[in-house]
């Protein structure tokens, strides 16, 4: 790769790459992020490599990050027509190559819903209702090849920004209305401005990729599938703030993201887009990757800074904010992955364009991970202000097994559960906060009648008491006590006054904790008491778990009429608690049953019931 030493050189390099790409050429883009690999995409890729050997002149393959439709992994999009094939196995590959060469469609590999078939990406209900500005380039880019990114206009925003004054860039970001995508939703442009105004020559840029919210993985997908968009956003930020060093703090649990972002940084440096004298200008900016060591609290900005410095990831009092006093005591701009990925789009298309998307106070699009008890699971990107109902039923396709959806959990452990009755709420920062939850980083976990809301509240309380750094008492002791009370309730030992105690405790923890973790920790419990009090009463008064989740309150039994006596449950029961002769109805001895649920999972006739 040549080292580009001026803006002109970059522009002609970009032109050359664009011209060398034939838009009519058939390219099979294979989704191969972590989700895809878990479902066997590596074998599919290998099969494709073999299958195209004899026809390389007519078609090629591209191994990309995730295409967002996790439920359809491994999948391919065949360009230029954008034909989508789902859930592929290596044995499907030869047929795909042959039919693609003939211009034919393979019927049984396309997405179907309610007996209707959808061949092209633009027709598929999952994609049709989205606005994929940030994620949309994933299928076009091999993340280990910087030229792919440049071919879709990548680093064009940097080229444009470097011709602007730093103040003009900050003004553009401010006017766009972009707010932080990591949780709190602070105005990005304002943050940049504060950091720029600080005295001193040494300033830092940090990208917070410590995506710890369970149920959220958009940052992983961006770093795996389109790392240059994040790096480009960071370089623009560094230029406008006056920083020369940047750090990407990535979770240890994301090995593929770490690999791809490291390769991307090297390639950008080689091309002269980062490092010393970027594109021949008096502007130096180096980026380092820091691997997290497994602590949820490090998503909090001051804890993250301590972690980079080699200390325990314990938050500190703010102010001073990192913009004033951050890494090594120097002014530091810290944004999350998705926020930086928005920056090149804003610079390229303008603040007015960005501000035209979304609601009055929440601009642009937001990526959500739509998971749990929903049909189309995956990473979605929609304009701010879409209603929860549209997200879950139009994009998500509703329930995956016909059961009644009753709530959605947003905002990770800091968020709360929003009941079905409020699904007409527009998804924006303020509406979710008013409903007792938060936007957070964008996890959306759909829950149905088989999900116990008390169990979920207990789950989050347990998660947070485990992840609390222990520095301040309300968080360290308070959440632990909330967890103990909830554990009692799920074991049938709860008392009615427990609910009031939980509310009191929750309000004290919110009001008196040091950092965001403690201040938002009770949200999940408080919102579940607010919206699902009847479930708490069922556990406390009737000693019953309506969803059939809380072990001490449930019993597994076998319906003699449905049981065929196949013996599968008996064979798999780890406690030898199932009795019965072959071809005769079986039964469970309650004394021996450890309620592991294996019999329920393996029964093909739905004969094992939970009561």
């Amino acid at each position: 790769m040549p080292k580009l030493s001026s803006l002109d050189e970059f522009e002609s390099f970009q032109k050359k790459i664009k011209e060398s790409r034939d838009p009519k050429k058939v390219v099979i883009s294979i989704s191969s992020g972590t989700c895809g690999r878990t479902r066997g995409s590596a074998k599919v890729v290998e099969a494709f490599k073999q299958a195209i050997i004899s026809c390389k002149d007519k078609l090629s393959i591209r191994v990309t990050g995730c295409h967002g439709f996790c439920d359809a992994e491994p999948n391919v999009i065949i360009f230029p027509e954008e034909i989508f094939y789902k859930n592929l196995k290596p044995k499907d590959v030869t047929e795909i190559v042959e039919s693609t060469l003939k211009g034919e469609i393979i019927d049984n590999l396309v997405v179907s819903q309610n007996e209707e078939k959808f061949v092209h990406v633009s027709e598929i209900p999952f994609y049709k209702n989205q606005m994929r500005i940030i994620l949309g380039n994933n299928p076009l880019i091999d993340p280990t090849n910087i030229e792919d990114y440049i071919a879709v206009g990548g680093y064009g925003a940097l080229d444009k920004a470097l011709k602007m004054k730093p103040e003009e860039i900050i003004k553009e970001i401010k006017c766009s209305g972009l707010r932080g995508r990591g949780g709190a939703g602070f105005q990005t442009g304002k943050k940049w401005e504060i950091t720029r105004k600080q005295k001193g020559d040494v300033k830092y840029i940090i990208c917070n990729a410590d995506e710890g919210d369970p149920g959220a993985y958009m940052d992983r997908s961006l770093l795996e599938g389109n790392p240059h968009s994040v790096i480009e956003g960071m370089i623009i930020s560094a230029y406008s703030i006056g920083a020369n060093e940047g750090w990407i703090y990535v979770r240890n649990e994301y090995p593929l993201a770490i690999k791809h972002v490291t390769i991307a940084i090297e390639q950008a440096k080689e091309l002269g887009l980062s490092g010393k004298n970027i594109l021949g200008l008096e502007f130096n900016f180096d980026i380092k990757v820091v691997k997290g060591a497994g602590a949820f609290i490090c998503g909090e900005e001051t804890a993250l800074i301590h972690s980079i410095e080699g200390l325990r990831g314990v938050p500190r009092q703010r102010p001073p904010f990192p913009a004033e006093q951050g890494l090594f005591g120097k002014p530091t701009n810290i944004n999350n992955v998705e926020t930086y990925a928005n920056v090149p789009q804003i610079i390229k298309r303008g603040a007015d364009w960005f501000a035209s998307i979304g609601t009055k106070t929440s601009k642009g699009t937001k990526i959500f991970s739509l998971v749990g008890k929903v049909k189309n699971t995956g990473l979605i990107e929609v304009p701010m202000g879409m209603t929860l109902r549209e997200v879950i039923f139009d994009v998500g396709g509703g329930s995956f097994n016909g059961k009644r959806i009753k709530a959605v959990q947003t905002g990770g452990p800091s968020g709360g559960c929003i009941p079905l009755e409020l699904f007409d709420l527009p998804v924006d920062y303020e509406s979710l906060t008013n409903a007792g939850s938060i936007m957070g980083s964008g996890g959306m976990i759909v829950m149905d009648e088989d999900t116990c809301m008390v169990d979920i509240a207990k789950y989050f309380a347990n998660f947070l008491q485990d992840e609390s750094c222990g520095k301040c008492v309300p968080c360290r002791e308070g959440i632990w006590h909330m967890f103990q009370i909830l554990a009692d309730i799920t074991e049938g030992k709860g008392k009615e006054e427990d609910l009031q105690l939980l509310e009191e405790l929750g309000n004290v923890i919110k009001a008196t904790s040091l950092c965001g973790l403690g201040q938002t920790a009770p949200n999940g419990v408080l919102s579940s008491i607010k919206y699902f009090k009847d479930e708490y009463f069922a556990h406390i008064r009737d000693k019953k778990c309506p969803a059939g989740v809380c072990k001490p309150l449930i019993e597994y039994t076998i319906d003699a009429e449905k049981c065929t006596g196949c013996g599968l449950c008996k064979k798999n029961c780890p406690a030898d608690a199932i009795v019965g002769e072959l071809k005769e109805p079986h039964s469970i001895t309650q004394d021996g049953c450890i309620k592991c649920g294996i019999c329920h999972d393996v029964c093909k006739y739905g004969a094992v019931t939970i009561s």
Binding site: R39, C70, G212, P214, L311, T377, M447, V602
Partner: protein
């Protein structure tokens, strides 16, 4: 110890004396953080040992005791939880005879949980020796462990021969 301390010096230089990446390299090399190596790190970085210990015990990815040859990690992120992750932990724990967070005495297996691997759409997830398995069920996890046990036993027999 000379050989170890030489590589330690290189490691310290490579990471510009930043403590966490140094400990990460040591953890990767030994599969845990041996006490004597921590002492040496403290010495070389001119840090009080309590600070090194503080960091080593704060972060989940560090371990002060040796881990097993096979590491089985069950994801307990929210999406995996609502799809039954907890039941898989119980099943694996029963099968291995150890609780989550423990290592079996023969140092063959460690059972761990993790608070989200970001593969939420295809949960519950189990990771066995860095290989991801999606849409797990208790019985599938048990079968996986059984096959690893068999592998270990065969290796043992080979060794005896």
């Amino acid at each position: 110890m000379t050989e170890i301390s030489m590589s330690l010096e290189k490691c310290i230089r490579k990471h510009d004396s930043f403590l966490i990446p140094i400990l990460q390299d040591i953890q990767e090399h030994y599969h845990y953080l041996p006490e004597e190596v921590l002492k040496e790190v403290a010495d070389k970085l001119k840090l009080p040992l309590r600070d090194v210990y503080g960091v080593a015990t704060f972060y989940r990815s560090f371990s002060l005791t040796p881990k097993g040859k096979h590491i089985i990690t069950v994801c307990l992120g929210t999406a995996c939880h609502v799809r039954g992750g907890e039941r898989i932990v119980s099943a694996a724990s029963r099968e291995l005879g150890i609780e989550a967070g423990e290592t079996r005495k023969d140092l063959k297996f460690t059972l761990e949980t993790v608070n989200c691997l970001g593969c939420c759409a295809i949960g519950p997830i189990v990771v066995v020796d860095n290989e991801y398995y999606g849409q797990m069920r208790s019985q599938k996890a048990i079968a996986l462990i059984k096959s690893l046990e068999a592998e270990e036993q065969n290796a043992q027999i080979e060794l005896v021969r």
